[in-house]
């Protein structure tokens, strides 16, 4: 690989670094968008099976019946691409256009620090976790601006709900992450993963028991649930609760502008699942000693987490807005603080397993 790239590097000279970075960005973004597209199909299929129906099974490639449904995301994408983007006459036009961009951009930007495998990361920065926290909190601006710029009462209510909800769950999420950084003593995501590969059980070839999910189990569960709330997924989907405020902030959007919100939501789902896998489920590490580590483990763990998103959606009714607030402020935040103190005490005690 190095040998192949060397001539190109010599040719480009100083331009090499930016060009190579852009290439790497595309290498991350394009498969990611592909995953997003097929996650929509997976969602419809999985929920379909749970609801004793088939899900999409008509759109195929080249009329091959066995591939029924596989081309559905592409058909959906094309449809949305060709649809008119209606600009409400009473809206704030510039903000109206800006909002979907602001929603999607952070959910893609956050992938810069995700380590897919050992050394396979776009930006191996030391403040990785902080970067993630900062960038994912940006996503809410897209929602708030969309609600404001639409000049619609439903959209406005949706964005108000979203703002309150994200603030509440961001804190719980933050505390959950603080415990992770305490035990791994690093903000670098690669180091967090590597830290999980050490310990008594990892030495015995059972890395799965050394991962953070066991000592930090409450944080693991809590982080994932907060992630579901953060991405506005059922049962926390009051922001777009379709039977209450129809589609919330997206109500006035159509065509590709609407699709961008959708992409952002699904990209966020994948992001939260990937982060859960990295911080609690050992990222790219293999669960047992005799199998090699690699990116496929991260993919498998992320898929496992994503399935929970879909499963939750098919099972639960939706919370009411104030109940979400109550859960966030009165349950999650106290629990995280208690566990934070507990982990702190554990680390200081002679029984610490993180020395």
């Amino acid at each position: 690989m190095e040998a192949l790239l060397q001539p190109v590097q010599d040719l480009l000279g100083v331009a090499w670094v930016p060009v190579w970075t852009v290439v790497k960005i595309f290498l991350i973004i394009l498969p990611l968008l592909g995953c997003v597209a097929y996650l929509t199909l997976a969602e419809r299929k999985v929920i379909g099976w749970m609801q004793v129906r088939n899900g999409p099974n008509r759109v195929t490639f080249f009329g091959i019946k066995a591939l029924g449904g596989l081309a559905q995301p592409i058909a959906d994408g094309l449809k949305l691409l060709f649809k008119e983007i209606v600009l409400p006459s009473a809206s704030s036009k510039a903000l109206f256009i800006l909002a979907p961009v602001l929603a999607l951009a952070p959910s893609l930007a956050a992938w810069a620090v995700i380590p897919f495998s050992d050394g396979l990361v776009l930006a191996d920065i030391n403040a990785g976790l902080l970067y993630i926290m900062a960038i994912t909190s940006m996503g809410v601006y897209g929602v708030i601006i969309a609600g404001w710029a639409s000049n619609s009462k439903y959209a406005f209510l949706g964005s108000l709900r979203s703002a309150a909800q994200i603030v509440a769950y961001e804190i719980a999420m933050g505390f959950a992450l603080v415990t992770v950084l305490m035990v791994s003593q690093s903000l670098n995501l690669s180091d967090i993963v590597k830290g999980q590969g050490q310990g008594m059980f990892a030495d015995m070839g059972l890395s799965v028991l050394s991962w953070n999910w066991i000592p930090l189990f409450p944080m693991f569960v809590l982080y994932f649930i907060a992630g579901v709330a953060e991405t506005n997924r059922s049962p926390f989907d009051v922001v777009e609760g379709e039977s209450e405020i129809v589609a919330g902030h997206m109500i006035e959007y159509s065509g590709m502008a609407f699709a961008l919100f959708f992409l952002a939501e699904y990209a966020n789902m994948i992001l939260i699942s990937a982060l859960t896998s990295i911080m609690f489920l050992g990222g790219w590490l293999s669960p047992v000693g005799f199998l090699p580590d690699g990116i496929w483990w991260l993919a498998a763990k992320t898929t496992f987490c994503l399935f929970f998103f879909l499963w939750l959606r098919a099972t639960f009714p939706r919370y009411r807005y104030d109940q979400i607030m109550r859960l966030g402020w009165k349950v999650f935040i106290p629990v995280t603080i208690v566990w934070l103190v507990f982990i702190g005490g554990w680390m200081m005690s002679p029984l610490s397993i993180w020395k």
Partner: protein, 417 residues
């Protein structure tokens, strides 16, 4: 100091939780409802006025379209009113068939209500499960009347025809192979009664399934308990009937209190709520489905053993058989008069009510002796329930308004008429 105004929101008529065409003007303080003002009339089709220009029997199909999720119960009240005015007896077998289909209809209605209510509260899966069972009952409708929804099966004097000996079957097509069709047709090999018997033996298990998903679900309880409380006194004052009244703890059921047809021979219980909130009404309706299932089973047993006529032999009211009509001048005249001029109902007025799945559905009919009603008044249970919208939702949040609309089980066909 800025002026603080309440937020007025137009909820519907184009809204997924409006159950049709409810327009609700909500005055909000933040998310808390200060006033809920239901606007109706968007589905007004003037059924009562139309009935004045149709012969008595021509209005039967209009009744299907009132509450279009419990079709046969509407017909039942209408036919009962005509029978009362005419003073005719309905054959016993027809009475059993009516009771059976009333209960099938109740299950149909409650299944739709359960699915829609759960969907409003955000649980999608129950909706599709409920529709799976509805499909079977729709097939029963189709077998008996030829129509899946708007049956027009009950007629003054009885029911249109006897229960069929065979069920419609699935056929092999591009999407269903022979094996799948065989599996689907398994319970359709016998008569309609066999099919319903099979359904009623499966149905309690399905209800358990819904209850697993909802009854003890914490989120479901958080969303329904203490939402839209109606005290027994207020429930009576507001004219509530059916599960809405029973959910508040008043054991009022026309099937028990003024039994019509053969309900007095049926063995069933009336579930009653305690707190009068949405959760109690949910429990009441789920239990009603189980009780309806019991009644259907009792009817199946009786109907199996007792063949007989299913419509009055008074040919001024019910048409003669095709065979008799072809060979008999008298019957031909009866047939001709009945289908051109219709039934002549003696002058008078009467009120006939049935325990409809949604409450007391009544028909007040006035006849001046002609072949058409002089005036027809429909008492729709949903109308009184919707009128309590403001009282029930005041002080709750927007999400609760949706839950309250769901718990009322409103259908605009009957409210707007």
């Amino acid at each position: 100091m800025a002026e603080i105004r309440n937020y007025t929101m137009n909820f519907g008529p184009q809204h997924p939780a409006a159950h049709g065409v409810l327009r609700l003007v909500l005055e909000l303080d933040g998310e808390v409802v200060q006033r809920a003002d239901p606007h109706i009339g968007l589905l007004h089709r003037a059924t009562e006025k139309l009935a004045e220009t149709r012969t008595w029997i021509q209005s039967v199909p209009y009744m299907d379209r009132l509450d279009y999720v419990s079709m046969m119960c509407n017909e039942h009240a209408y036919c009962m009113a005509i029978e009362k005015l005419l003073g005719i007896e309905v054959p016993e077998r027809a009475q059993y068939i009516r009771v059976m289909f009333d209960e099938v209809t109740r299950i149909l209605n409650h299944l739709l209500w359960l699915g829609a209510h759960a969907l409003d509260v955000g649980a999608m899966t129950v909706f599709l499960y409920a529709f799976r069972e509805r499909e079977d009952l729709m097939d029963a409708y189709e077998a008996v009347s030829g129509a899946r929804m708007h049956a027009a099966y009950y007629r003054p004097g009885g029911v249109y025809r006897d229960l069929p000996d065979s069920m419609p079957r699935y056929e092999v097509n591009k999407f269903k192979n022979a094996e799948a069709v065989k599996r689907l047709n398994e319970n359709r090999s016998g008569s309609l009664l066999d099919f319903l018997d099979d359904f009623t033996s499966r149905f309690p298990r399905y209800v358990d399934e819904y209850e697993t998903l909802l009854t003890d679900n914490r989120i479901w309880k958080q969303r329904l308990v203490d939402i839209g409380i109606v005290t027994p006194e207020r429930a009576m004052a507001l004219g509530f009937t059916g599960p809405m009244l029973r959910g508040s703890g008043i054991a009022w059921d026309l099937r028990k209190k003024q039994p019509y047809e053969v309900y007095d021979r049926m063995d069933f219980d009336i579930p009653v709520g305690v707190n009068g909130d949405s959760y109690d009404r949910y429990l009441v309706r789920v239990e009603e489905m189980r009780q309806s299932n019991r009644i259907v089973r009792q009817c199946i047993d009786w109907l199996r053993k007792n063949p007989g006529p299913v419509i009055s032999d008074n040919h001024k009211v019910a048409p003669p058989s095709r065979e008799a009509m072809k060979g008999n001048m008298e019957e031909l005249i009866h047939h001709f008069k009945l289908f051109t001029e219709g039934i002549h109902v003696p002058a008078g007025e009467c009120y006939a009510a049935v325990e409809h799945p949604k409450g007391e559905f009544g028909i007040y009919a006035m006849s001046d002796g002609a072949n058409k009603p002089y005036r027809l008044k429909i008492r729709a249970p949903g109308f009184a329930h919707l009128a309590a919208m403001d009282e029930m939702s005041r002080g709750h949040m927007i999400s609760d308004v949706v839950a309250i609309i769901g718990t009322m089980d409103i259908v605009f066909g009957e409210i707007d008429r």
